[in-house]
């Protein structure tokens, strides 16, 4: 029974990792850009929600509605003014720019909010749980997983059934020809990064309400997001969810054996997948 519980917790944790990973996956899919500051942007969004909650006295759920447009704008500007200038055949410039951004963001947050760990207050649901059969599952973990599924459903709908998504896919295929169709790739990239930042805000809500956070935890979130993406296979959002679940289950299982092994177990699961299926479990056909 302990094991069943461990696995259930792991699956739900995977929802959180999938939320971390979805933005990363979206941006990579459209512009082949890996944003090394992705984890720090999640932490930034968590502070932003915290700020809105404390300053405006809103509930965290409403605070997300305030924070999401701000993060969208931030992502849009970041892409338009910084990242678009370094995108190209050479992968080095965007990597180094986002790495610089990661270090700068961490230290800006440290300066602004100190190294103390914080938490987004969520008195209504903190610690609440429901009984599902023999299991007792936390309401917040369940909501996290549900949100991950909802986010992926909405994103897939946008990507595969709207003109914007069509432009995303066309630009991802061939930016020059997309330009001949009247689509400005730089604008599409800015919109995609903005959209990814909205997902990042949702991820930050759960990051910040479920556990403590501080300015230094961004890089680890980037690593979990990255592992979920690679395990799932590049280019498939559902694959990313499954990648997150595998990572989550590996971590909770490791932690059940020895609390010190939680993170290590996740890394080992990742390496095992990389060993057996270098392209991930559900790779996109043409890439």
């Amino acid at each position: 029974m302990i094991w069943l519980d461990t696995i259930a917790q792991g699956i739900l944790l995977g929802g959180l990792y999938a939320l971390f990973a979805t933005g990363l996956s979206l941006v990579f899919g459209i512009m082949r850009l890996v944003n090394l500051a992705h984890g720090d942007l999640i932490v930034l969004a968590a502070y932003l929600i915290l700020l809105v909650v404390t300053l405006l006295g809103l509930s965290p759920w409403l605070a997300v509605l305030v924070a999401a447009p701000v993060m969208f704008g931030l992502g849009w500007m970041l892409q338009r003014w910084v990242l678009n200038r370094v995108l190209g055949p050479d992968i080095l410039p965007p990597l180094l720019v986002t790495f610089g951004l990661s270090i700068a963001l961490q230290n800006a947050l440290l300066e602004g909010f100190s190294a103390d760990s914080r938490r987004i207050p969520n008195p209504a649901l903190e610690g609440a749980s429901v009984a599902v059969g023999p299991l007792n599952l936390g309401v917040m973990p369940l909501l996290t997983f549900g949100s991950a599924v909802a986010v992926i459903l909405v994103l897939n709908r946008i990507i595969y059934a709207t003109p914007l998504g069509r432009a995303f896919r066309a630009t991802s295929d061939d930016p020059v020809t997309a330009g001949l169709m009247g689509i400005d790739p730089r604008r599409i990239f800015a919109l995609a990064t903005g959209l990814a930042m909205v997902v990042v805000t949702i991820a930050a809500l759960y990051l910040g309400t479920r556990a403590n956070f501080d300015p230094a935890i961004g890089p680890a979130r980037l690593i979990y997001a990255f592992q979920a993406v690679i395990i799932g296979g590049l280019g498939s959002l559902w694959g990313t969810l499954i990648g997150g679940v595998i990572l989550g289950v590996a971590q909770t299982t490791g932690a059940a054996l020895n609390p010190e092994w939680q993170i290590l177990a996740g890394h080992i699961a990742f390496l095992a997948v990389l060993l057996i299926r270098p392209r991930g479990l559900f790779p996109r056909a043409n890439d």
């Binding site: 069509r166 066309a170 020059v176 330009g179 169709m181 009247g182 689509i183």
Partner: protein
């Protein structure tokens, strides 16, 4: 004058391909650009469509300087391109490939999904297939249809017969009169001189980045074309 290039210079980083090219296209006209491999035909198309930038007044569209505009803005002014090698979007179905042509500019004119399917009926059958699953000729039809979807007043066709069987080329060129009947001007880049002379109202011959011959097909002698194409021998 619908389109005019004035002393157009263009090229790539270290390699210039066009040296002062002057061409002109009247509304509704069909102009063919001929020339050997490397004469600068595709560079000319890329410079007009905005893929390559030049000085503003080296390219005029309805008298407005557009040489400096990027491709998306050129397209929105009503110049659509069928790029060399077709360049369909592999992630998009045939129908989505067509729809994306009209996404940023619908324009006023007859072209929409329905009329493109009437022009190329086979595409209706294959509408749900990925664009790249089609035969070369069918892909070329999608590429032409995609460009028409924006109802351009100028259609640029870059090497649309390249790599296709003669019978397929005939089918594709058979669509040209119906496209022209809607009032759009067409520029075709062709290596096949006979084909070009058949369809065009006027012909420009390029060699080594310069216009070496221009005129109506009926007025041009075979020898003159030969000289303009391969270089005159003293």
């Amino acid at each position: 004058m619908l389109l005019q290039t004035c002393g157009l210079h263009a090229g790539y980083d270290r390699f210039k391909a066009l040296f002062g090219v002057d061409i002109a296209v009247e509304p509704g006209e069909c102009v063919a650009i001929i020339g050997a491999n490397g004469a600068g035909k595709s560079t000319l198309m890329r410079a007009i469509s905005g893929v390559l930038r030049s000085a503003p007044d080296m390219v005029l569209h309805r008298g407005v300087p557009i040489g400096h505009l990027p491709a998306p803005q050129v397209m929105q002014r009503g110049i659509a391109m069928v790029p060399e090698g077709r360049r369909l979007f592999p992630s998009l179905s045939v129908e989505e490939n067509l729809l994306i042509g009209a996404q940023m500019r619908r324009g006023t004119g007859p072209w929409a999904l329905e009329s493109v399917y009437e022009l190329f009926p086979i595409l209706r059958e294959r509408r749900a297939s990925p664009g790249t699953a089609l035969s070369g000729g069918q892909q070329q039809m999608v590429a032409i249809g995609r460009a028409l979807m924006s109802n351009p007043d100028l259609l640029l066709c870059d090497e649309i017969s390249l790599g296709l069987a003669p019978v397929v080329i005939r089918d594709i060129y058979a669509a040209l009169p119906r496209i022209r009947a809607t009032g759009a001007a067409v520029v075709v880049v062709e290596q096949d001189i006979t084909q070009a002379l058949t369809v065009a109202d006027r012909v420009y011959c390029l060699m080594e980045g310069r216009v070496t011959l221009t005129g109506r097909p009926g007025d041009l002698s075979r020898a003159a074309i030969h000289d303009a194409y391969f270089g005159g021998h003293a």
